[in-house]
Amino acid sequence: MAQTYKWRNTPDILARIIDGNEITTWRSQRVTLKPNEACMFIINGQLSPVFSDQNINQIGGGFPRFLASILKATAVDRRVVFGMTGPFDLAVPFSTQSQSGLKFQGHVRMRLQLMKEDLPKVLNYFVNHSPVLTRTSLARLLYEHVNQRLIASTFSACTDETSFRDEAFQSHFAMKAEMLLRPQLASLGLTLLGAYLVPQRTSLETVNLHRSNQTHALEQERINAEVTQHAISLRQSTALRQIECEVEVARAKIRGDQTLEAEAALTSLRRLEAVLRSEDERKIRLNLEKERSHSIRMKAAMEMFQLVQESKRSRESTN
């Protein structure tokens, strides 16, 4: 049972060359090439066709191969080149100065592709470099070429800090990059699909940005102040109105209290009047009762007096 060999474990890897004789596993290694991957064998220095989009069952290892190597029935030198054939982006940093002393920094963004048919040309890289081609190593390789050949000549004629942002400059840069980088990239088997410049902020742009930020902050402050003033006036009018309302309420309350007090006083007066009236009535009744009893007693006394007088007169008459 074959083991799956992984030639690319990070997306940073673009191509790799391996020595097939260094794969010394008991189980043979196989690889499945996706449509954006390509593979090529170099057997005893001879290039095989480029394969893609298929299974390759034995790229190294396995007992039969071990046996064949003992019997000297295998190739002496056996290498496998893998490559990623899809388009990829590469950022190469740059730093340069124009003739007028303006400093420019940033990076060149390139879209490159390793065509399947160009896979053998990657060997030009592996001759002088490590057996793994990554984006980082490619950017490092192209750094000087991009800076000296492309960037320096592009910015040498740049007189102001505003022209390099427009479409004409970018278009001109893309065409120049296409022309100047092609030989270098073609020697590595890479095709340049497009390039554009990503400059950082220049000093003038920084000043303009600062001015714009300050103007913006000032405008923001003005708006804030206006809003605050409006809020204060609103709050003031609300407070005044609230005070008025409270005064009105207090007045109304005072009025209401006075009314209540007057009512209470009136009630007490009425109650007092009633008490006094009842006392008067009682006194009158008592006086009347007293007068009546006095008159009754007087009448009874008078009757008794008359009785006494009559008896007296009768006695006198009898005498």
Partner: protein
């Protein structure tokens, strides 16, 4: 010892190349040695051969257009250089379309593909022939444009040729996408009546 898996079994019925498609087949064989149409066991190989030929022709076209681009840029004819760049972008897109196009899978029984019939073969062979003819025309146009630029002809004519080449490449890309629809048709199982 290196060996590769070759699992090209498409169906149980043997399908022959239709006689109607023979002229196209001969035309393709003039360009692609060993092209035998989509017979049993050759379907994937034929598809790969056609696509490789399309990519090769497109790259030839691109090389011509690239030369025009560089020459126009050096001469200061930026409009022509920009046209060439746009044409290159179209060619790159076409190459991507071709190299990443679906070609079906090997096991038709498991994938649900129906068996390729003579009508399908005829359509595919004719389509291959026409796409390759279109791309070849684009290559010829690019070649003519470069020749005209080299002979100091009117740059407007060169630009027109480049634009026609771009149009031809775009048409080829559009025409090639029809092939995917044909292959998709093979994936659909027969409708039961």
């Amino acid at each position: 010892m290196i060996y590769f898996r070759n699992q090209l079994h498409y169906g149980l019925k043997m399908v022959f190349t239709p006689i109607d498609a023979l002229p196209y087949l001969r035309g393709l064989q003039a360009v692609l040695a060993g092209y035998e149409g989509y017979t049993k066991g050759k379907r994937r190989a034929a598809d790969q051969a056609v696509r490789n030929e399309l990519v090769r022709a497109a790259r030839r076209t691109r090389n011509h257009i690239t030369n025009i681009h560089d020459a126009a840029f050096v001469l200061g004819r930026h409009e022509l250089a920009q046209s060439a760049k746009r044409c290159c972008s179209s060619i790159d897109a076409f190459v991507e379309d071709v190299s990443k196009a679906s070609s079906g899978v090997t096991h038709s029984f498991l994938s649900g593909q129906r068996v390729m019939k003579n009508g399908d073969q005829k359509r595919l062979i004719r389509h291959d022939y026409e796409v390759i003819t279109l791309v070849t025309k684009a290559t010829n146009l690019a070649n003519a444009a470069e020749r005209q630029l080299g002979s100091n002809q009117d740059p407007v004519e060169v630009e027109q040729l480049v634009k026609r080449c771009q149009q031809m490449v775009t048409s080829s890309a559009g025409f090639f996408s029809e092939r995917t629809m044909m292959l998709d048709g093979l994936r659909q199982k027969k409708r039961r009546k």
